[in-house]
Amino acid sequence: MSVLAGACLVPVILTSTLAFTLAPRGPSSQGPGLAASVVSPPGPPTGLTATAVSSSEVDLAWAAPASDGGLRVTGYDIYKGTSSGGETMYAGLVRGTRYPVTGLTSRTTYYFQVTAVNRAGQGNRSIEAIATTRRSRQTISFGPLSARLIDAKFTVSASASSRLRVLFSSDTPRVCTVSGSTIRTVAAGRCTIRASQGGNTKYQPAADVTQSFTVRHRSGPHIPRTLIIVLVAILVVGAAALLVRRWWRRLHRPDVRVEPHDGPPGVVRVHGSGTGATHTVNIEPHASAGTTTVKELEP
């Protein structure tokens, strides 16, 4: 590629840059003279890989180009785009063969290319590397729960950093059940409530958070609340019906009087009114003289 013939400079037509160097010739040589070489921009970097490490970062790695163009590679330019062939300059003169691309949007596909640069210029772009950023992480905040009695009904709350809705479930359905965010204790024991968030296109599923609490027996005999309500209702209705009945009977009670009769001894008169009519009942006992007989049963 280089031609050096004594002190004579022979022009060589090359497509690449022609560089000249002047160097003293050693004793073994035929004396001082000019050394000339042809240099060019480096070839494209090889082995470009893009690895998404988070929702906002992709790590790029590549290998030095197979040809440095005759000059030391001074750095690499990185191109980034969201469509194939649409990459634009992202970072220049990057030293080394690794580079973290940050500030990316989650769950987005990015296209990357890298070029090597030497003093002769910028080489061709590498082949494209593609990476899609991950979904964002999220966490759940779910505070501790206090002990409860059997047949208690209460609501719980928890929040996700994504602000997505948190779902609840019971790990101990024999002790407690869940409906929406309402917890109901059904038996004595240890109740464990699990808070979950499954994520969406932007957010990864959150790690479940559990909270446990103790469900205790009531101090007295356990009576279902429904039964108590029914019994109280029966009592109230019964008492009301009794009061109405007594009031009705008092309102319509006939005026009943028992009076001695002016007739024979023992005769009484029941005199009453109240249903629009007056009634008189004379009661007179009549004794019987009676008959006494004696009969021998054995001779």
Binding site: V270, T280, N282, G290, T291
Partner: protein, 223 residues
């Protein structure tokens, strides 16, 4: 109808209904269920409160009619017992003599048909017809007789059966049994013959004794 054994009844009322004095209430319960006869239909026409009060008063009147002293029944029976009256005449004729009469088993039966008439407004009179039957069956009784009077009773057994019928239908049947232990003296004695058969000087005392004796006589029904 309902065999039972009330302990030592004094009266037919106690025999039939027990000693707790609940006879009027028991009778009222029976009458409230089914009076029967013309009284039942007559009472049906009355308003509830008046009917209830009337039944209570009818029951009280009926209970009063059924309150027969069992001692009186027994004495009435003795006065009709031929062996006793015969012995009484003998001892009356022989002052100072005493006879012990060993009586065979015998029955004293008392039958009564009292009734309560009820006049409601202008309706025809209605009637609660009662039928009372008391049978005293006495056995192993030894009677001591002096001066025409029963002066002592020596041992003996007594079975009492009381029956009550209302409006012609049997309503209650009760039984009781009594044992007479040892000798029971009867004070001045019970007169067994008509009053005119006794000397006049003692008539006044006789009456007093006749009135006092039943109450103090623990005979049949008074073990």
């Amino acid at each position: 109808m309902t065999p039972g054994a009330p302990a030592w009844p004094h009266t037919t009322l106690e025999l039939l209904f027990g000693a707790a004095g609940t006879a009027p209430e028991s009778l009222a319960a029976i009458l409230s269920g089914n009076v029967g006869g013309n009284l039942g239909s007559a009472l049906e026409r009355l308003p509830r409160e008046i009917r209830k009060t009337s039944i209570r008063k009818i029951s009280e009147a009926a209970a009063g009619l059924l309150d027969v002293n069992l001692i009186d029944v027994l004495i009435a029976g003795w006065r009709k017992h031929q062996d006793l009256t015969t012995a009484a005449r003998r001892t009356l004729a022989a002052p100072g003599s005493t006879e012990l009469v060993d009586l065979a088993t015998y029955q004293v039966t008392e039958e009564q048909q009292p009734y309560v008439s009820v006049l409601i407004d202008d309706l025809p009179p209605a009637t609660l017809q009662l039928g009372l039957s008391v049978v005293l069956e006495i056995s192993a009784l030894l009677a001591g007789i002096s001066a025409g009077r029963l002066i002592a009773v020596h041992s003996g057994r007594c079975d009492i059966t009381g029956k009550l019928a209302m409006q012609g239908a049997d309503a209650i049947t009760k039984r009781a049994h009594s044992e007479l232990p040892g000798v029971i003296t009867l004070g001045q004695g019970l007169r067994l013959l008509p009053a005119q058969d006794y000397p006049s000087v003692t008539e006044q005392a006789d009456r007093a004794n006749d009135e006092a004796a039943p109450a103090n006589s623990p005979t049949c029904g008074h073990g």
